[in-house]
Structures are given as structure tokens and as C-alpha cells.
């Protein structure tokens, strides 16, 4: 990008400048001996064309919507359409969550994002002994199609796109969504949305797994296949780095492990005979927006470029729509403090801005009270307004990828890509992501980063405003935090009992048997069977129990 002559002049000038600066440093040393990004990438005082001397605009940056998509997945980006404002929500019962969804849509939300409670995420009904104390706490309790019908009551599924954070039992929940849509008269071809469906990160960082890797991948392949054939507008997976980052990884590891997971999924699907040019179009990603503002922007760009290169070079993908890394972003949960919670609004704003400058397709901003409880109506409104101010008032959406060309940003983008590739190579050497997880490799890396971060905060090396600096001794806690009524568990259990009494239990038995047979045989796509089963009002727990019987349960690998 730069002529040799230019670069030489710059180098020379820099030499002079460094000499002068030495004198300044003697009188006024810098605040730290060395500066690093959150990912421990060393940061220099100043960046110049020298740092990006080997860059080729067309090869490395290109134009938005053109390979390698560094500048964006689409030519007009926010000038054509803003990112989707999509706040993750769900708690207690389907009725209450339904109310919150309607509120959010009124307030300008463009797409729904469903949070399920832990029993639902782990395939247990609300009356299962393991569900004690957990029903409705971190999301909505969905035991059967009945609950799903209530959840989306009055919400036109042909008009909203719905993202569902469900992984191990994603097939079953997706089947319920499809069944609800059918009842509304909306055909599958029209449905838009996402199921997270990313089991590998569950093993690595999130912990809501059910079955072992083999059967889990089979279920995922079923969704790819079913989606490609019957639900073409649906994103059948959201390959996630958010949780890996929350578990303590660095930005580089977030990119590396997420893309390595992606490689594993594409591999598995290709081995099963699916065409990456087809299902590749519907792979989506989910990243974290953390606090190192500039590093995050570079991270998103690096991820886009790296994935495009991987899909093309490794898997021979030619369809441009299958090369683009489209992603949803959530601002970092771990950056929220319980101390001086209002300050979280400022953190979330900066994080959200980095995601916008990084070209995200959809976003969830955290509410300020989330280190203490689920968002209240008031706090989630501010979270939404944060996105709206950025979108409509800040002007950053007027041009695509505005920070391109910044020497630091381009340097960091390159650096993150390079370091992520090293991790991916290491994972390849270990035999792929599945093998690496079995050996505990990503888990160990993440834990080390988490521990180092904690030590850095405790030693004061890393400042957290309100926690280890600018502390307020006696502060007032926010009032009106959201509380989930423990009665919910009792209510749901009652409902389950009624459901089981009033449905056609013979039919339920039949559909569950069918599932068992097909699962044992292991070849046919299970989706149509799940759809039949949920329509007969078999509960999620009942279906998952059959799968547990056939597939067994995963036991975690713990390394410290």
C-alpha cells in the first residue's frame, strides 16, 4: 500500500522523533513500563505505515461485500439497514415473557431473542428433581408446545425473526417453534431466526450440555440438512465466542476457538455428505464486545477475514454467501460490576459502539443491573436506548467500516488474525477441536487467561472503576431488581400434570417410540419426528429422556 520511498522517509522521521521523545520521558515517564491490549498484545506508542507495510488493499481489505469481507459482509451495511436490535429476554412463565416481548417490540426491538431457563436448556421438565430452585430463573420455562404457544401468543412469526439461545435440545425447541408457526398458518419456508445450537462451546465454556459429542454432532447435522431443505431462511447455528470470552479467554482465543468450532461443524457436515456452499450460507456467529475498544473492532474484522479464507481455502467454498461471517454481538457480561451499577451504562455504550464499528449484524446490550439480577423493564429500556442513540444520533453509521486505514486498527486486525491462526494450527495438530476439547486444551487456555486476569485486577495492574479504584464505600443498591417468584415451579408442575392428563397418551407413547428407534438406528433425520412428537404434546423432558437413554450423557473434563 505504500511506496518504499515513503516508508523510508517515515522511518527516518520516526527515528528523530524517538530521540526527542526520550528527553520527554526522562521528565515525564509514561504511566506504565509496557502497554498491552486485554489480550496481552503489546501496544506501541504510535503506529505508522511501517506497521502495515505489507498490506495490499485489494487483497487484504477489499470492499464491503467483497472477499475477504474485512470491511463488512454487505456493500451498504448500516446505510441500507441497521443492525437488528435484539435484546435477550425471558424469565419465569411463558405469559410473563410474552408480555416482555410485546413491550420490547413496542419500544423498537426488531427481532426477538429468547432466553430459556436451565432445566429447559438441559432437557428437564419443570417438575424434574434436578430442576428444583431453577425453574424460570435464568429464562422462560418451556416444558411443552403449550408453553411455546403462550410464549408467542399474538406475535406474528412471519413478521419477526426469533433467535433462541438453546443448544443441547435445540432440535426439540426448534420443532416446537415450527409447530407454533404452523398453527399460526405460517409455512416453514417463511420462518426467519436462529437457534444457537453450538454444542462445542458448551463443552468448553458454558456447561449446558446433555449428550456426548458424537450424537450431539449428529443432531446438529440434522438441523443443517433440515434447514437447507425446509427452512431456508433460518440460521441453524450460531457459532459462539461470547461464552468462551466470558469464561475468561482473550480476544485472540475467542476468535481462534470459535472459528475452530466452526471448522469442526463444517467438517462434520461435509463428512455427512452435505454441501458447504449450501449450508454454509446459514451459519452465523456470536461474539462478545469487551472493553478494549480498539482491539474489539480489530477482532471483528479479523474474524471476518479469517473465516472467509478458511471456508475458501480449506473447504473450497465458492458461493460468496457461504463465505461471509455474519454475527450477533452481546456486550460483555463479565465487565458489569455490582458496585456503582449505573457506571455499567457507560461500559455497555463503549462496548456496543465497538461492535457497530466492527460491523455486527445484530446486537444485545446488557442492562446495568445484570451483575445483580435479570433486567428490569426500566433497565432494559436504557439498554435499548443505548443502541438507538448510536444508530440514530452518533453518525457512525453514515459510512461503512469507518476505521479502515487506521494504522493501529489494521495492524491489530492482522495481528489478531495471525495469532488466531497459530491457535487453529495447534488445534489441528491435536486432531481437531473435538480431540482438543477431550484433551482439555481450550479449557486450560481459558482458565489460565481467567486466572491471570483476576491476578491483574487484584494486584491493581488492571483497573476496574468502582471495584479497585474510585470505590464508593457505602453505596445504595438499585431498587426494584427483578425477582422470579419461586411459586413458578409449583405452577409449572401443576400445568405439567394437567397436560399429561389431558393429552392423548397413547399417541405420545408412539411418537416417543419412533424417536427411540430412529435415534438408535442413527441414520434418519430426527427433525420430522420431533415435530410430530411436540405436536402430540410430548414434553421436552420426555423427548430428551429418550435421547439420554439412547445417547448417554456427557461427563465434563475438568482441568485446573
Amino acid at each position: 500500500m505504500f511506496k518504499e520511498e515513503e516508508l523510508r522517509k517515515v522511518s527516518q522521521k520516526r527515528g528523530e522523533w524517538e530521540e526527542k521523545t526520550k528527553k520527554v520521558l526522562e521528565k515525564h515517564p509514561e504511566m506504565k513500563k509496557e502497554f498491552y491490549t486485554l489480550s496481552e498484545i503489546p501496544v506501541e506508542r504510535v503506529y505508522t505505515p511501517e506497521h502495515v507495510r505489507n498490506m495490499d488493499y485489494v487483497r487484504d481489505l477489499g470492499f464491503p461485500g467483497d472477499y475477504p469481507y474485512t470491511r463488512g459482509v454487505q456493500p451498504t451495511m448500516y446505510r441500507g439497514r441497521l443492525w437488528t436490535l435484539r435484546e435477550y429476554a425471558g424469565f419465569a412463565t411463558a405469559e410473563e415473557s410474552n408480555k416482555r416481548y410485546k413491550y420490547l417490540i413496542e419500544q423498537g426491538q426488531m427481532g426477538l431473542s429468547v432466553a430459556f431457563d436451565l432445566p429447559t436448556q438441559i432437557g428437564y421438565d419443570s417438575d424434574h428433581p434436578m430442576a428444583h430452585g431453577e425453574v424460570g430463573k435464568v429464562g422462560v420455562a418451556i416444558d411443552s408446545l403449550k408453553d411455546m404457544e403462550i410464549l408467542f401468543d399474538g406475535i406474528p412469526l412471519d413478521k419477526v425473526s426469533t433467535s433462541m439461545t438453546i443448544n443441547a435440545p435445540a432440535t426439540v425447541i426448534w420443532a416446537m417453534y415450527i409447530a407454533v408457526a404452523e398453527k399460526q398458518g405460517v409455512p416453514m419456508e417463511k420462518l426467519r431466526g436462529t437457534i444457537q445450537n453450538d454444542i462445542l462451546k458448551e463443552y468448553i465454556a458454558r456447561g449446558t450440555y446433555i449428550f456426548p459429542p458424537g450424537p450431539s454432532l449428529k443432531l446438529i447435522r440434522d438441523t443443517f440438512e433440515f434447514g437447507t431443505q425446509k427452512v431456508p431462511l433460518w440460521n441453524t447455528i450460531s457459532i459462539s465466542g461470547y461464552h468462551i470470552r466470558e469464561a475468561g479467554s482473550t480476544a485472540v482465543q475467542e476468535v481462534a476457538f470459535t472459528l475452530a468450532d466452526g471448522i469442526a461443524y463444517v467438517d462434520a457436515a461435509v463428512k455427512a455428505g452435505l454441501d458447504p456452499n449450501k449450508f454454509g450460507q446459514r451459519l452465523s456467529f456470536f461474539f462478545n464486545a469487551q472493553q478494549d475498544f480498539l482491539e474489539e473492532i480489530a477482532k471483528f474484522r479479523a474474524a471476518r477475514r479469517l473465516w472467509a479464507r478458511i471456508m475458501r481455502e480449506r473447504f473450497g467454498v465458492t458461493n460468496p454467501r457461504a463465505l461471509t461471517l455474519r454475527f450477533h454481538t452481546q456486550t460483555a457480561g463479565v465487565s458489569l460490576t455490582a458496585q456503582q451499577p449505573m457506571v455499567n451504562i457507560i461500559r455497555t455504550t463503549l462496548e456496543a459502539l465497538s461492535a457497530v464499528l466492527g460491523g455486527t449484524q445484530s446486537m444485545h446490550t446488557n442492562s446495568y443491573d445484570e451483575a445483580l439480577a435479570l433486567p428490569s423493564e426500566e433497565s432494559v429500556t436504557i439498554a435499548m436506548r443505548t443502541q438507538q442513540v448510536i444508530a440514530y444520533e452518533s453518525g457512525v453509521t453514515n459510512t461503512v467500516d469507518p476505521l479502515a486505514g487506521s494504522y493501529y486498527i489494521e495492524y491489530l486486525t492482522n495481528e489478531i488474525e495471525r495469532r488466531a491462526m497459530e491457535y487453529i494450527k495447534k488445534i489441528d495438530e491435536l486432531g481437531g477441536m473435538l480431540a482438543a476439547i477431550e484433551k482439555g486444551y481450550p479449557q486450560q487456555e481459558i482458565q489460565n487467561s481467567a486466572y491471570n486476569y483476576q491476578k491483574a485486577v487484584e494486584s491493581g495492574e488492571r483497573i476496574v472503576v468502582g471495584v479497585n479504584k474510585f470505590v464508593v464505600e457505602e453505596e445504595e443498591m438499585p431498587k426494584n431488581l427483578l425477582k422470579v417468584d419461586p411459586q413458578i415451579e409449583v405452577e409449572q408442575s401443576k400445568r405439567l400434570k394437567e397436560l399429561r392428563e389431558n393429552r392423548d397418551n397413547l399417541r405420545v407413547k408412539t411418537v416417543l417410540e419412533d424417536i427411540r428407534k430412529v435415534a438408535e438406528e442413527g441414520k434418519e433425520n430426527l427433525m420430522p419426528y420431533f415435530i410430530e412428537a411436540v405436536k402430540a404434546y410430548a414434553t421436552e423432558g420426555e423427548i430428551c429422556q429418550v435421547l439420554r437413554d439412547v445417547y448417554g450423557e456427557y461427563k465434563e473434563k475438568v482441568i485446573l
Partner: protein, 323 residues
């Protein structure tokens, strides 16, 4: 108090057994008293040593073994030993995690122990814990240690049957050729047998065994068993092999031999330990300063000084008559 704990142990009370193990880990004088009370009540529980490098799947295997032994009705205990940090003395004891499905089975007692700074030799605490569990009615004891360094060799001095667990692809030559490894194992397990390279490991072990045992007859030739612990494959074979080894030991009289050796070794250890403790106190209090100065002034060498001191101790104890 000690009486109460001891009585509890003999009744098989979980809390008392747990307390007793803590006592033998922490408090020396109390430990001795406790063992003095409990030892006559031990019945000679069968001890299986499970060793191998970190990550080979010992705990997962142990978890499956427990199920098998419980299936036949044995009352059993597991001692999961992990290394303590040489710097901080702390330890992360994570083996239990893999066996938690048995946490509520009253017929299974699981205890995690750190090596607590014992470099050479399994710490006396482990031998004492074994005695406690034995007195508490446990019939089978699984002692799981990390096969790194001295501990893996010393497991032999504690166990009746030693099971060494290997896995393919972990630098097979290193595992198999390590000095002492081949001599100590009574049974070889190649876990994660669905991985590449499993046959290579089996072959290497077999070759080593041929060299060691090829010509001899009537001896126990360690079998090599392939397992996939996670799935439970091969576990029955392993239990079978352990049973056969136990039979062999009994019939050939080797069990008695081993246990005699173990007792001898332990007695020597205890003696040595007591002597050095005694010396610490004695020498420290009485003669050290004098002799230190003499050695400093080159009047006497360390050897001569030691001889004199030893002479004085033995005479003092009435062991040697005054010359």
C-alpha cells in the same frame, strides 16, 4: 475424643472414618495413638493400586471399577492421591469429580489426599489412611496415584495388585521404557483404546514383557487389557484380571510375601522416622553446638563427630556399655 473417633470407625460411621483420616494426616502423636487402637481390628483389605500419567483416565476407570465391585456387593473405598504444590503446599484434588455418581452410595467411601511434600515414598498418611479404612470395614481399597516419579514405584509397596494405565499417542516410548514401570505393574491397561496407535502400545508393552518374563514359568505374566473407560468397554475384563491376580497371589503364597515385605518396609520407615526425630531433638538440644565448633576449628571431621555423638546416644540409652 480419640476413643470416640476410634469407636466410630469400628462401627463404620462415615464422619468418624473421615475424621480419623484427617487425624492421621495432620497430627502425629494422635495419629500413632489412633492407629495403635485401630490396627488390631484391621482385616487385611485387598488393595488395588491404580497408577499412570495424568490424563490417561484413571479416575474414569476407577468410577467404572467401583460400579463393578459394588455390583458384587463389596464394601469399598477409594483414596485419590494428587500432588501437592511444592511451593504453596496446597493441592487441587479433582479426581473425586469423576466418581461423584457414587457419592450417595454408603458402600463407597471416597477420599482425596494431597501428597503433602513427601517426595520419596508414599506418605505414611496414606498407609495409615488405608489402615483406618480397613478397620472401618472396607473390603476393597482402590488407591489412585499420579504415575510421575517416585510415587508410581512406591505404590507397589502399598498395593496387592498394581494396575498401570497407559494411553495411545502420549509418547508411547517414554511411558513404556521408563525405568521401574515394567517391574511394578501386575496388570497393564491401555485406555482410550479407540484412539490411533493403540496396537503399537500393546505391542511395545508385550515386547518388554517378553524380555522380562519370557523364559520364566509359574510366574504371573501381566496381561494387557484394552479399555475405553468412558464407555465402560473392557472394564469387566479388567475386574476379571484383578480377580485372577488375587487368586494367583493367594495360591502361590505371593500375597503373604508381599504383605510381609510391606510390613518390613513400613517398620523400617517408621523406625527411621522416629530415630531422625529423636536425633533432631537430642542433637539439637545437647551436643550440636560443641561439635559444630569443633568441626569449625578442624579438630574433628564430620564422620568422627557423628561417631562420637552416636556413641553417646547409645550409651545414654543403655544400648552400649560404657567402655
Amino acid at each position: 475424643m480419640l476413643e470416640k473417633v476410634a469407636n466410630g470407625v469400628l462401627k463404620g460411621d462415615v464422619r468418624s472414618i473421615a475424621r480419623a483420616i484427617s487425624i492421621v494426616e495432620n497430627n502425629e502423636s494422635e495419629a500413632e495413638k489412633l492407629i495403635n487402637i485401630l490396627y488390631p481390628h484391621t482385616k487385611g483389605a485387598y488393595i488395588i493400586g491404580l497408577t499412570g500419567s495424568p490424563g490417561v483416565g484413571k479416575s474414569t476407570l476407577a468410577d467404572k471399577l467401583i460400579a463393578q465391585f459394588r455390583g458384587v456387593g463389596y464394601n469399598l473405598a477409594v483414596l485419590a492421591v494428587d500432588p501437592s504444590s511444592p511451593f504453596t503446599g496446597g493441592a487441587f484434588l479433582g479426581d473425586r469429580l469423576r466418581m461423584q455418581s457414587h457419592a450417595l452410595d454408603r458402600g463407597v467411601f471416597i477420599r482425596s489426599m494431597g501428597t503433602r511434600g513427601s517426595l520419596g515414598g508414599l506418605s505414611p498418611a496414606i498407609s495409615d489412611a488405608i489402615k483406618v479404612l480397613d478397620a472401618g470395614g472396607k473390603e476393597v481399597l482402590l488407591v489412585e496415584t499420579v504415575g510421575v516419579g517416585q510415587a508410581e514405584v512406591d505404590i507397589v509397596s502399598t498395593a496387592d495388585t498394581v494396575v498401570l494405565v497407559l494411553v495411545p499417542g502420549l509418547g508411547d516410548d517414554i511411558q513404556v521404557n521408563k525405568a521401574g514401570i515394567m517391574e511394578i505393574a501386575d496388570i497393564f491397561v491401555v485406555n482410550k483404546a479407540d484412539r490411533e496407535g493403540v496396537n503399537r502400545v500393546v505391542t511395545e508393552v508385550r515386547m518388554m514383557l517378553d524380555i522380562a518374563y519370557g523364559k520364566k514359568k509359574n510366574e504371573w505374566v501381566p496381561p494387557i487389557i484394552k479399555t475405553i473407560a468412558e464407555k465402560g468397554d473392557g472394564v469387566e475384563e479388567l475386574v476379571d484380571a484383578i480377580g485372577k491376580h488375587r487368586e494367583y497371589l493367594k495360591e502361590s503364597g505371593a500375597l503373604q510375601q508381599r504383605r510381609s515385605k510391606r510390613i518390613k518396609w513400613e517398620l523400617e520407615n517408621t523406625l527411621q522416622h522416629k530415630i531422625s526425630r529423636y536425633l533432631e531433638e537430642y542433637v539439637l538440644h545437647e551436643v550440636e553446638v560443641d561439635y559444630l565448633e569443633k568441626i569449625m576449628r578442624r579438630e574433628v571431621s564430620n564422620y568422627a563427630a557423628a561417631e562420637e555423638i552416636l556413641g553417646r546416644i547409645l550409651r545414654k540409652e543403655g544400648v552400649v556399655d560404657e567402655c
